[in-house]
């Protein structure tokens, strides 16, 4: 009987363990953070995790939370693995989380249909399902500030400007190096449409997930085809691998552009040859902003953070800060809208829809010039905000362009098609019943 009772004991222990999890206290707001400091993507995930955590912790330390209510910040380790991400979601669900940020497209997808049922909004910042930009169809999912279609149109516009007009792209060759997954393939329809219209040739170089670090065959083709520009859509070790290969094969770096996911470490891995590499970005780099100084003073110096001092203000750290800025703003809005101090997921969804971070508000938050203004609405859960181009000068990123407006009409066309497609395939997809708030 011993083994049987042992297995029985295990079950009981699980039950007890589940019950003994620290429940969020009534006078606090529970904000779970899904992070990945382990696994193949930890190189990027650790900075993001630190940024997200430190900004919220700073609010706790400096202001005693938001609106006087302390935030309970809890990290759940996903390892960028869908299995563990879903486990994390189940683990935090019972503790009244006000919002979840999956930080992985793979984890976002299973959560999207559950959001409306469990009344927990999802913030998938510039990743996840692009169609979820449509607030009328996905009231519980937010993906600000830009979609990948916005990103692609901005890069093409930037190249066009460099050439002296979009019509000058005629006859040029543009290479598209992308991760061979839904994430990397998403901008292809738009790229091909623009290629046909503007008369340039689009060459596709897919990189399978298992060859991210070994892209020699793709770059051999690049050398043969000699594209005039290269555009990259990668994540994790693919970015560093591509920059290294580009340097090795002698591709002119100033014609190598990327969407917003490479980090300093990726660029550094290319050595001196990586100088001139360009990428889109929508927020500032560096720790000179007052809010980041507050993080230094209240969190890092007190030893409350896991980050080392020199990493504060790096690109992906600041992206984590931007993510938390949206969370904090949504919570603050929710408090204003409902008059309650301790808000719930439903309130924060409304708070998210009424986000209006204009220049004045950013200044008040100590983030003047950190990022462009953004306002979301009930129908627009994305914002489709412009991003700027930044260049690697060998040791840091420098901003080299003004914010580039996306090609709004084309993005809208893609979005319409995707949303229509989604509605057709999911006949049972619930109609939006959530009411709409006026911006606060």
């Amino acid at each position: 009987m011993s083994l049987r009772s042992l297995s029985l004991g295990l079950v009981v222990a699980t039950l007890l363990g589940g019950a003994a999890l620290p429940a969020a206290a009534q006078d606090s707001i529970y904000v779970p953070l899904f992070t990945y400091r382990t696994g193949p993507f930890a190189g990027s995930g650790t900075y993001i995790a630190d940024g997200m955590h430190d900004y919220l912790e700073m609010l706790n330390q400096r202001d005693g939370g938001i609106g006087g209510v302390k935030l309970v910040i809890e990290e759940c380790e996903t390892g960028y693995d869908t299995k563990k991400g879903v486990e994390c979601y189940e683990a935090v669900k019972g503790k009244n989380p006000v919002i979840v940020n999956p930080w992985s497209t793979g984890i976002t997808l299973p959560l999207i249909p559950r959001a409306a049922v469990d009344k927990i909004p999802i913030l998938s910042m510039a990743y996840g399902l692009s169609a979820s930009a449509r607030g009328d169809i996905f009231p519980w999912v937010f993906n600000p500030p830009s979609t990948y279609w916005d990103g692609m149109s901005m890069i093409i516009k930037f190249i066009g400007e460099k050439e002296g007009g979009l019509d000058k792209l005629k006859g040029k060759k543009v290479g598209f190096l992308h991760l061979d997954a839904s994430f990397g393939k998403e901008p292809i329809p738009l790229l091909e449409e623009l290629a046909k219209e503007l008369g340039f040739e689009a060459k596709l170089y897919p990189v399978a997930a298992q060859d991210m670090q070994n892209q020699s065959s793709q770059w051999l083709s690049v050398r043969r085809d000699r594209p005039d520009y290269m555009i990259m859509w990668g994540w994790g070790s693919m970015n560093g691998g591509a920059i290294k290969e580009a340097v090795r094969s002698g591709y002119p770096m100033d014609k190598f552009l990327s969407v917003w996911w490479p980090s300093e470490d990726d660029a550094r891995s290319g050595g001196a040859g990586a100088k001139g590499f360009k990428m889109l970005n929508w927020h500032g780099v560096g720790a000179t902003y007052p809010a980041l100084q507050d993080i230094m003073k209240n969190v890092v110096d007190k030893g409350l953070s896991k980050t080392s001092k020199d990493k504060v203000g790096e690109l992906l750290y600041n992206r984590g800060v931007y993510n938390s800025l949206l969370i904090a703003e949504a919570i603050a809005n929710a408090q204003k809208l409902t008059g309650k101090k301790v808000v719930s997921g439903e309130d924060v969804r409304r708070g998210m829809e009424t986000i209006n971070l204009d220049a004045a508000r950013l200044k008040a938050l100590g983030l003047e010039g950190f990022t462009d203004s953004i306002a979301l609405s009930c129908t627009d859960h994305n914002g489709h905000r412009p991003a700027f181009m930044q260049e690697w000068d060998g040791s840091k990123w420098t901003k080299i362009s003004d914010p580039i407006e996306p090609m709004g009409d084309r993005v809208r066309a893609q979005l319409e098609a995707a949303a229509k497609d989604y509605a057709e395939k999911n006949a049972g997809w619930p109609k939006r019943t959530e009411t709409c708030d006026k911006a606060s």
Partner: protein, 361 residues
């Protein structure tokens, strides 16, 4: 003392040949099944949705691989892909014919997986062991490539993902976001019990004996009149059927939506480890293996912080993750050293000892 054979006389061949020869065993099984159903009403959502449903899904996949590797002796690294075939087939079927019950489609989707499995099982007649493992690895990569490249499989969904539309059984939502963990759990549990029962009868009968004969020495089996091609292909078909059903259950009753990446090579290894740790050629071993590999890390994640808290040690989520890896790794090595035949063998030894306790002879 309480668990012993003495006094239980078998007067017919049938009663002598039953799976559970002792009435204590039969009672124990009934209690376990009853408890499993009772948990649907007593367990928390976390326990059902994040622990028990995935445990059952993995156990079913492990049974599938065990039929092939443990009983028929054919090593396969394509389990993840075969699960994927089941999931994609189920998605296509349930969106094409939404009126037919989803449970039917989950069971039918296994046949598609079986067909694909048979196709990739063909080389098994000529190649064996590690070489066959490489051939099935090809299945893994080829099928994964198909999942990414054929948009028809996901009904031309732009995001390339599978999603779970709402489907009901007797008016209760089973698949889709509104399905409660209780309903999902009961459906998964029932399917797993039925399929395990089928498997246990399969491996005890003519087919199972053929598989075992082929596993132990295929030349001898051939001389005894067992046709190798049919036997091996049947093993691939049945195994893939189980994996396919497990894949469909995984996407529609556990995740509720997924992209191609969940059926990657890691999934195949994950299940192979369960089979090896649990015990090759044992159905109960599949459950033990799934429990050790899947539930143990979750348990550690909950228990470790509680254990360390009294000492004033607060550890971060990522440290727990590292500790989980180390402890589970150490446990795997420990169990393999103590009992190379897996947890199932330990279980068997435990029962043998109990039978003669407290007066061993």
């Amino acid at each position: 003392m309480l668990y012993r054979e003495a006094g239980q006389f078998k007067s017919t061949y049938a009663s002598d040949m039953v799976v559970f020869r002792l009435k204590e065993d039969r009672a124990g099984l009934a209690v376990i099944i009853l408890m499993a159903y009772a948990l649907a009403f007593m367990g928390s959502d976390f326990l059902l949705q994040a622990v028990l449903i995935p445990f059952l899904v993995f156990a079913l996949a492990a049974i599938g691989l065990n039929l092939l590797t443990g009983y028929a002796g054919q090593l396969s690294l394509g389990t993840g892909a075969f699960m994927g075939v089941g999931a994609y087939a189920c998605y296509k079927l349930m969106t094409a014919f939404p009126d037919i019950n989803v449970i039917v489609w989950i069971l039918v989707s296994g046949f598609f997986s079986a067909a694909v499995g048979t196709l990739f099982g063909l080389p098994s007649l000529r190649i064996k062991g590690f070489y066959l493992a490489v051939a099935t690895l090809a299945a893994q990569f080829f099928l994964q490539w198909c999942f990414i490249r054929i948009p028809w499989l996901v009904n031309y969904n732009v995001s390339g993902a599978l999603d779970a539309p709402l489907r009901t059984l007797f008016g209760v939502p089973v698949v889709g976001a509104t399905a409660t963990p209780q309903t999902r759990y009961i459906v998964v549990l029932t399917l797993v019990i039925v399929l395990t029962w089928v498997a246990s009868n399969l491996v005890r009968g003519r087919i199972g004996r053929m598989w075992i004969a082929v596993r132990d020495m295929d030349l001898a089996a051939e001389l005894m009149g067992i046709r190798l091609l049919q036997t091996k292909l049947l093993a691939f078909a049945v195994s893939s059927y189980y994996c396919g059903v497990a894949g469909a259950l995984m996407v529609f009753l556990w995740y509720g939506g997924a992209e191609y990446d969940v059926f990657n090579i890691n999934q195949s290894f994950f299940i192979l480890f369960m089979v090896i740790i649990g015990g090759l050629g044992s159905l109960i071993g599949s459950f033990f293996g799934a429990a050790l590999i899947f539930i143990m890390p979750i348990l550690l994640g909950i228990v470790l912080p509680i254990m360390l808290a009294p000492f004033g040690i607060a550890i971060g989520a990522e440290t727990i993750e590292h500790l989980r890896f180390m402890i589970v790794g150490a446990l795997i090595i420990f169990f393999l050293i103590v009992e190379p035949h897996g947890l199932a063998r330990l279980w068997q030894i435990g029962k043998q000892k109990l039978l003669v306790w407290p007066f061993p002879y």
